[in-house]
């Protein structure tokens, strides 16, 4: 459902992604693994249309490379950026509803989707009326996930969602992702992470980005850590 063909992204004179090609199928849960600065965020931002790039990105068999960024969420793509980036002037619920208002969804469809968000993230209902500027960093990530769920009917992209979450909240977040999977088996998920161990349990595929190149990785428990291959020093 999502395909990169020879995508190259240059930022400030540096080629951050180099001729990257990959294909992701509908309903995949993909872990996008890479060290800090490897190019994970750049990959997601390219899908959103926020980078100057060459090559081609196809979504549902359509070339979206030239599609204006503001039109991409309308294809059913929800994106929760690395930092939570809520709109602090509004309440939590207003933040979640805003994508539906922008897309001019009917009241009925908006209610249905809000119901889906609250099923997956019931805690958001309790803080619905709070100003988004007043919620904690971890809660903010939950709200950002809720907002992405509101538009992400086909593809949901989460950029380092576990980064900086307290252990209890991280477990809650992972649980919410599993609920989402059960609730919505067809949606495609891309989750970036610098620590592959965290995604082992629910990703079914790993893509590893390293020095601007993308390759297939393994998430099996006994597979070598794709970022830190066992050091040869132990061999006699």
């Amino acid at each position: 459902m999502l395909e990169f063909r020879d995508v190259t992204v240059t930022l400030g004179g540096v080629r951050v992604l180099r001729d990257v090609s990959f294909l992701i199928n509908t309903s995949d849960t993909v872990a996008l693994i890479g060290a800090n600065g490897a190019g994970k965020t750049t990959t997601l931002r390219s899908i959103m249309g926020f980078t100057h790039m060459t090559g081609e990105i196809r979504f549902l068999r359509e070339d979206i490379t030239k599609l204006p960024p503001a039109k991409r969420p309308g294809l059913g793509i929800g994106y929760a950026a690395e930092d939570r980036r809520l709109f602090s002037a509004f309440t939590v619920e207003e933040n979640i509803l805003m994508p539906a208002q922008v897309a001019r969804l009917t009241a009925q469809e908006t209610t249905r989707r809000l119901g889906r968000v609250y099923t997956i993230l019931p805690e958001l209902k309790e803080m619905a009326g709070r100003p988004a500027g007043s919620v904690s960093g971890g809660q903010g990530k939950m709200v950002a996930l809720g907002r992405a769920l509101m538009i992400g009917t086909r593809l949901i992209m989460l950029d380092e969602p576990f980064q900086g979450l307290a252990p209890a909240l991280a477990r809650r977040y992972a649980e919410a992702l599993r609920t989402l999977r059960d609730h919505d088996p067809d949606v495609t998920l891309i989750i970036t992470e610098s620590n592959p161990g965290l995604l082992r349990r629910f990703a079914d595929r790993a893509l590893v980005v390293e020095r601007g190149e993308m390759r297939e990785g393994s998430l099996a428990e006994d597979a070598p850590d794709p970022l830190h291959p066992a050091s040869p020093a132990t061999t006699p």
Binding site: F50, F87, A89, M98, P99
Partner: protein
């Protein structure tokens, strides 16, 4: 300073602050979204004044009611904001958003110069004076002073209505919410499907119309002359910088502070009157570089 002089300075200050606020709030709204310091903002003030003075003059000369001046002010400012502000954003400013700040300011300065010439071309260089709106509202007596109701009551009331109206527009209409969202985080807004180009255009037209409305209201109290736009842009820059960029309520309070400061200076230290707004700005920025109501951290663009 006796009570009457004090009251006089106070009333002058409030009336002046109301006008400054209208222009400054438009400027701060535009800066918040476009991130461009728009020098051409003063031109919209001047054109609002010219358009109102000339049309109201013609209406009254043709024997129609001077009360028509009030709807004319609103129509003239909306037309200036939409018909001149709209194309300026869409055709010119849109090309400069990725440029360095210095270049942006130079371009908006060029737009300002072009619009100055347009004013000379359309309205000539002779002053316009058209105070029908001021006359028709009469005067009020307060504390032994006779003052025009237009300046003492209408201008402050209009400024408060604009402030409240703007708040309601920004918080409770979709266009307004999108303006706030883009002000806070352009990329996050795009990521939920907001067409940022359109928000820029709407913001610019609203901001330019507010400046034109300030000019329209001012035209009843003063001669409309070439150069009035330049005076106003400098003053509203002072207000916006003192308040902190992008702050709407802050612009209102700061306009009041600077308006009052200036009018008291007129009576107490006339030689300082033009300097006072900048002295206030300097004093505030030395203590709080982010402005009175600005946030300490810089927002991500």
């Amino acid at each position: 300073m006796n009570l009457q002089l004090f009251a006089l300075a106070f009333f002058d200050g409030i009336a002046y602050a109301a006008l400054v606020f209208l222009v400054a709030v438009g400027l701060t709204l535009i800066f918040g979204v476009l991130r461009v310091l728009n020098v051409a903002h003063g031109s919209f003030y001047a054109m609002g004044a010219y358009a109102t003075a000339s049309t109201v003059g013609a209406i009254v000369a043709a024997g129609y009611s001077p009360w028509l001046a009030f709807p004319m002010m609103i129509i003239a400012s909306a037309l200036i904001g939409g018909l001149i502000g709209g194309p300026v954003e869409k055709l010119l400013l849109r090309r400069i958003y990725d440029m360095e700040e210095v270049l942006q300011i130079l371009v908006t300065f060029a737009v300002f110069m072009i619009l100055e010439d347009v004013q000379r071309l359309v309205w000539g260089v002779q002053p316009y004076f058209e105070s029908s709106a001021l006359m028709v509202l009469g005067t009020v007596d307060v504390l032994g002073i006779t003052y025009t109701a237009y300046q003492l009551i209408l201008l402050p009331v209009v400024a408060i209505l604009v402030l409240v109206g703007l708040r309601i527009f920004l918080r409770h209409t979709l266009s307004g919410k999108l303006i706030l969202a883009v002000t806070e985080d352009r990329e996050a807004a795009t990521a939920i499907g907001v067409n940022v180009d359109r928000v820029y255009l709407v913001t610019f037209v609203v901001g330019a119309s507010l400046a034109a409305f300030g000019g329209a209201l001012a035209s009843a109290t003063t001669s409309v002359i070439p150069g009035m736009g330049a005076d106003m842009i400098v003053l509203s820059f002072a207000v916006v910088a003192t308040a902190g960029l992008g702050r709407i309520e802050g612009a209102a309070i700061t306009a009041l502070l600077i308006g009052l400061g200036r009018s008291f200076a007129v009576y107490l230290a006339p030689e300082l009157d033009v300097l006072v707004p900048y002295l206030i700005m300097l004093a505030v920025l030395l203590v709080r570089p982010e402005g009175l109501f600005g946030m300490a951290h810089t927002r991500k663009i």
